[in-house]
């Protein structure tokens, strides 16, 4: 355990030094505050408080931004060490591949959690200060933070998988971009096209909600809106949520980091440094 902590400490220091922590926090903060400010103009019209609108907007933001930030933190993890020649060296020490991965994951997850809590937290503080927050919307913000960290954890793990199978850092960067594009952008587009084509058929009513929940990025949308009827109203995800058993989105959000890490450990195990 002390070895894992030593690796985590070093990785966190690297995250701080190469500015990723600052960039990620600044990025999420700026967007979250901008969305909250913009939400102030419409919250009155919808009849819900400022934070409710803000959380709905920030959920859409998180679905795109959190996976991106997570992949940017993790895509270099294995391929970068291999390229520098330090991977083979570290593995000759009495430390297992699993421990090495665990240490990196702890550091990256800590960095991501800091960025999410500060970024979305600032928006919450702003809403409270403006008198546009209540217990219900506060809980929604908390759900968004927890969901975002879980989503980030999944994409950190996907980043390690990508890094583990890539021969070079450049290849890992390209593949990470591809994973983001597929899971965050194209997946939804294909689903949307299918729903339109299906025109309210069996797929739309019974299969679509499950396929939506199966993608961790969409699971965050579902998880975030189940907080309240107001949220469902603000995001328009109510129908899909209603078709799923309670907790399906949370199970997806919890399962993907685990599946990703297991996959990353397998891929890392096959790699000859």
């Amino acid at each position: 355990m002390s070895r894992i902590l030593a690796i985590a400490g070093t990785e966190f220091r690297i995250l701080r030094r190469n500015r990723w922590l600052v960039i990620a926090t600044a990025l999420l903060s700026v967007f979250a505050l901008a969305l909250t400010l913009a939400g102030a103009t419409i919250s009155g019209a919808l009849g819900v408080d400022l934070l409710t609108v803000s959380v709905a907007s920030m959920t859409t933001l998180a679905v795109y931004l959190v996976p991106l930030v997570a992949l940017l933190m993790s895509f270099e993890a294995i391929a970068g060490d291999a390229e520098r020649g330090s991977l083979a060296l570290v593995l000759t020490y009495p430390v297992s591949r699993g421990a090495l991965l665990a240490g990196k994951f702890m550091a990256h997850l800590a960095g991501l959690t800091i960025a999410v809590v500060i970024g979305f937290g600032l928006a919450g503080v702003w809403a409270v200060a403006a008198g546009g927050a209540g217990a219900e919307s506060g809980l929604a913000l908390l759900r968004l933070m927890v969901g975002s960290v879980l989503l980030g954890a999944a994409f950190l793990a996907f980043g390690y998988v990508v890094s583990g199978i890539s021969r070079s850092v450049a290849a890992a960067a390209g593949l990470a971009g591809f994973v983001w594009l597929i899971l965050v952008v194209l997946y939804d587009l294909v689903l949307l096209a299918t729903v339109v084509w299906d025109d309210g058929g069996v797929f739309s009513r019974h299969v679509f909600p499950w396929v939506l929940a199966a993608n961790p990025a969409d699971a965050l949308r579902l998880y975030s809106v189940t907080a309240s009827a107001d949220q469902a109203l603000a995001t328009g995800m109510g129908a899909a949520v209603a078709a799923l058993p309670q907790g399906a989105a949370l199970v997806s959000l919890l399962a993907w980091p685990l599946v990703g890490l297991i996959l990353a450990r397998l891929v890392f195990g096959w790699r000859v440094p």
């Binding site: 070895r3 030593a6 690796i7 070093t10 020649g85 083979a88 593995l91 000759t92 009495p94």
Partner: protein
């Protein structure tokens, strides 16, 4: 016989297609410095990775300080310096070395002391990104010393270094061996022979074709000595008699095997004043290396 810190018996690791090592047996004792030579692709890196447990082996046995390769005890007993290793540029030398110390469960004071030992003390708190290649290799060397390993495997430790940095690194390697660590230095060049290595092992196409001290290798190879005779007036008749080749009309150079060397020299000196000068050129390191590393010269 001294304790073997590395005992390799019949090690085989083949890759699909070609490459790898076949039936390599090798032994390194405590405090011994062994140079592992071979062309690029001869199997040096494969052999090292097998010894480090990074690459599974197809057959044979490897014991490091008596422990099976890959075991925790074996990992703790072996140190490694990869070729041209570059650590994370954002860390300082001290932070990097302290991390290795923690992984090896070695006191951090030892890590700090090693920074001074390799001559990086003043630069220890600078980021590795600002280090020269020589400094990075010194940092790599510092982690080799951690925990006083029984065996150190160094892959091309001096490639790309200037002569001063190379000299410094060899001084460190000598110190390491003097403290009882068995050292194996892989190289595709002869520079490692120039250093005072005790024994030379040569790999060719994945098999070990030589494993002996330098004088023994010369004796086994039985390479011809070249004799160059200067005879301005009658180089022609000398060429007819000894063969070889004429240089500038006034000199003749010919090769003799070790058993006929003295007899030939006697004949040359018997010519007296006809010969104005005589040079004896022993076989060079390059010739020796070429002899063992080219096909058709198996021992």
């Amino acid at each position: 016989m001294a304790d073997a810190v590395l005992q390799v018996t019949g090690l085989t690791r083949r890759f699909k297609g070609e490459g790898g090592v076949s039936d390599v047996s090798l032994r390194v004792t405590a405090g011994e410095r062994v140079a592992l030579l071979g062309h690029n692709g001869a199997g040096k890196s494969t052999l090292m990775k097998c010894l480090l447990g990074l690459l599974p082996i197809d057959g044979g046995e490897v014991a490091i300080a008596g422990h099976a390769v890959g075991s925790a005890a074996a990992r703790a007993a072996v140190a490694y310096l990869p070729e041209a290793v570059a650590f994370h540029p954002s860390l300082t030398g001290r932070e990097q070395l302290r991390l290795f110390a923690k992984l090896a469960r070695v006191d951090r004071a030892e890590a700090d002391g090693l920074l001074d030992h390799v001559g990086l003390g003043p630069a220890g708190d600078r980021r590795i990104g600002t280090y020269s290649k020589g400094m990075r290799q010194k940092l790599g060397m510092a982690q080799v010393f951690l925990g006083k390993p029984a065996l150190a495997l160094l892959d091309e430790p001096t490639s790309g270094l200037d002569p001063i940095a190379r000299h410094d690194l060899y001084a460190l390697i000598d110190g390491l061996a003097a403290n009882g660590t068995g050292v194996m230095i892989a190289s595709h060049a002869l520079t490692e022979i120039e250093a005072r290595t005790d024994r030379i092992a040569i790999l060719r196409d994945g098999t070990l074709v030589a494993d002996a001290s330098l004088p023994d290798l010369f004796a086994q190879a039985d390479l011809p000595t070249r004799i160059r005779v200067q005879a301005p007036r009658n180089a022609g008749s000398l060429h007819d008699r000894f063969g070889g080749q004429r240089i500038n009309g006034a000199r003749v150079e010919f090769a003799v095997t070790s058993d006929q060397k003295m007899a030939r020299l006697g004949e040359v000196t018997a010519l007296g004043a006809e010969v104005s000068d005589l040079e004896i050129i022993p076989p060079s390191l390059e010739t020796l290396y070429r002899h063992y590393s080219q096909a058709g010269n198996a021992p």
